[in-house]
């Protein structure tokens, strides 16, 4: 289990990289150094009316200089507030949280799918850097692309857009089928319908499939039991068929959970 840190990080750079999508680089003391792909941080609002932390995936983490990148979509008031911050502003964060993707499931000679849908794409950036073996990166967008160039640097990128403006028209599975791709291991993050479809597809094809789940969170560290998902077997910690997304997750083996 990795150490978690509560820090006041400094914003190094914030830029808009798409419609309502922002990329923020933060200077951390310890969090970037401890982060693994697929983990997330809690970002705290400075407005006292918004108490709960916003969970945001780690997009990139540079252990050497302590810099950490998050990429997020303005979804409501909290993320809207974050989007207004500028260079040198301070931001309270807690992390790294959760388990992250299991890198050890891949090795040279094996093929992986890294599948990101919409705002589930950011964690694929750090994952693509650290994962061994052949990386086929399948990205699903509504229309506008983001982070595509970052991902092209560490694997072969396949794109699906809902409106067909780029790549395959349709979703990530349509792109996989169109290119007749296969893999030994799947790593995925994205909206629930995408994860549900991938789970069914992977289990039918008997491919090992790791899904990053989303749920509303309060503590972010496993204490409040807000963020559970349903599990196939009785969980060791909860003693019921529930697992904490913030602690045992957010990444789960598809066969262990219900999506």
């Amino acid at each position: 289990m990795s150490e978690k840190y509560k820090e006041t990080a400094q914003i190094i750079k914030q830029e808009k990289i798409g419609t309502g999508i922002y990329s923020m680089w933060l200077q951390t003391q310890k969090i970037a150094g401890a982060a693994r792909p697929g983990q997330f941080i809690s970002v705290y609002s400075k407005d006292g009316s918004r108490l709960l932390p916003r969970p945001i995936s780690i997009c990139e983490a540079n252990a050497e200089n302590g810099q950490l990148r998050i990429v997020y979509r303005v979804a409501g008031k909290g993320t809207e507030e974050f989007s207004r911050y500028e260079q040198d502003d301070a931001l309270d964060i807690l992390g790294p949280l959760g388990n992250g993707f299991p890198l050890e499931r891949m090795e040279e000679g094996k093929k992986a799918f890294l599948i990101g849908g919409g705002i589930g794409i950011p964690p694929m950036v750090q994952l693509s850097r650290e994962l061994k073996g052949e990386k086929q990166i399948v990205l699903g967008y509504r229309d506008e692309l983001f982070l595509t160039e970052d991902l092209k640097r560490s694997g072969t990128v396949f794109i699906a857009t809902e409106d067909g403006s780029c790549g395959t028209r349709g979703n990530v599975l349509d792109a996989i089928r169109e290119h007749a791709l296969t893999a030994d291991v799947i790593y995925a993050c994205g909206p629930t319908p995408m994860l549900r479809a991938l789970k069914a597809w992977a289990e039918e094809k008997q491919i090992e499939c790791w899904l990053s789940m989303e749920e509303k969170m309060a503590c972010g560290i496993g204490a409040c039991l807000a963020c559970v998902c349903r599990s196939k077997e009785v969980d060791e910690h909860s003693q019921v068929k529930n697992k904490r997304v913030c602690k045992e997750g957010p990444v789960f083996l598809s066969t262990e959970i219900e999506v």
């Binding site: 749920e215 503590c219 039991l225």
Partner: protein, 311 residues
């Protein structure tokens, strides 16, 4: 170096450095300070121990535990509200056997008092290292048939007396704020033999997602907590302190020392920090330090002088 040390001593004296006592007693159990955690917001302390030295806390109050594991409610279980939140966790818990085997030994490693929040049989804890029991009668599922008996004074008295008969440790009854007159249930708990009271539990609320045209919580309703409910909680603690002579553990929106002091001045012997832990995991420690600073600033040598001194 010597000089430096001496001058430091002198400034401390000059600024009124004094010995203070933050000790309080609840039902014969002495706490090193009045600051504890609110049930359900702190697990059994394991997760927060990465951020908080549990030795510093007056007590750890654990998540409500039942006789057998409970799966709790479907998600979403929480929603943010302005200055607070709503929850309908549904008392998910691993059951008393796992709790006794795993969580109590963990808490024994720390020099803090252990208060177990129970919604089941208390006999099971008789021989366990537990200092106090907190009975959650504000929870709808305590008894089969489930009337909300935390709201009915007669039922509160009966259940308190029943639990007192079976419990080995002193009993804190945790009152529901979802009543017209909190002093009625407080008096009922006192009549039933309670050793202390804790209040308030969450206020029942509802939030609607206008975009999805549905309830924000799968359970439709949930308990509202956090700073938004603090004035209601302070008022209820004050009223209860006027009505009964039992020690009171006050809670509801405490996020800093000043908040905690409001409760103490209104009549609480101790306080619990709940929702604020989610915003800042170190809140409990900051509250403790802030209370100490306040005592030095106002030359209060014993915290007990402050309890209920606003009348």
């Amino acid at each position: 170096m010597m000089l430096n040390g001496e001058s430091k001593m002198q400034t401390r004296k000059a600024s009124g450095y004094m010995e203070i006592s933050t000790k309080v007693t609840i039902a014969g159990v002495e706490l090193k300070n009045p600051v504890m955690t609110a049930s359900g917001t702190f697990g059994s302390g394991m997760e927060y121990s990465e951020f908080v030295d549990l030795n510093r806390l007056g007590a750890v109050v654990t998540k409500g535990v039942a006789n057998v594991p409970w799966p709790g409610n479907p998600t979403p279980r929480i929603a943010e509200t302005c200055g607070g939140m709503m929850n309908a966790i549904g008392l998910q818990n691993p059951g008393i056997d796992t709790f006794v085997r795993r969580d109590l030994p963990f808490l024994q490693n720390y020099d803090t008092k252990v208060i177990v929040n129970v919604c089941g049989k208390v006999e099971r804890l008789a021989e366990e290292p537990v200092d106090l029991l907190e009975i959650n009668i504000s929870c709808p599922n305590v008894k089969e048939g489930g009337i909300a008996f935390g709201q009915n004074p007669k039922a509160v008295e009966t259940i308190t007396a029943e639990i007192k008969k079976r419990a080995k440790q002193p009993v804190i009854m945790k009152l529901s704020p979802n009543v017209t007159d909190i002093t009625e249930t407080a008096r009922a708990a006192e009549a039933g033999g309670a050793d202390a009271l804790s209040l308030i539990n969450t206020l029942t609320g509802m939030k609607i997602d206008v975009h999805r045209r549905t309830f924000a919580l799968a359970n439709k309703t949930g308990g509202v907590s956090g700073p938004a409910i603090k004035p209601i909680a302070v008022r209820m603690v004050y009223q209860t302190a006027q009505a009964v002579s039992l020690p009171i553990i006050g809670m509801g929106g405490i996020a800093c020392a000043q908040d905690a002091l409001e409760f103490i001045l209104a009549g609480a012997t101790a306080v619990s920090v709940g929702t604020a832990n989610f915003h800042n995991p170190m809140t409990t420690l900051e509250v403790i330090e802030g209370i100490e600073d306040y005592m030095r600033r106002y030359q209060v040598s014993d915290i007990r002088e402050l309890i209920g001194c606003v009348k």
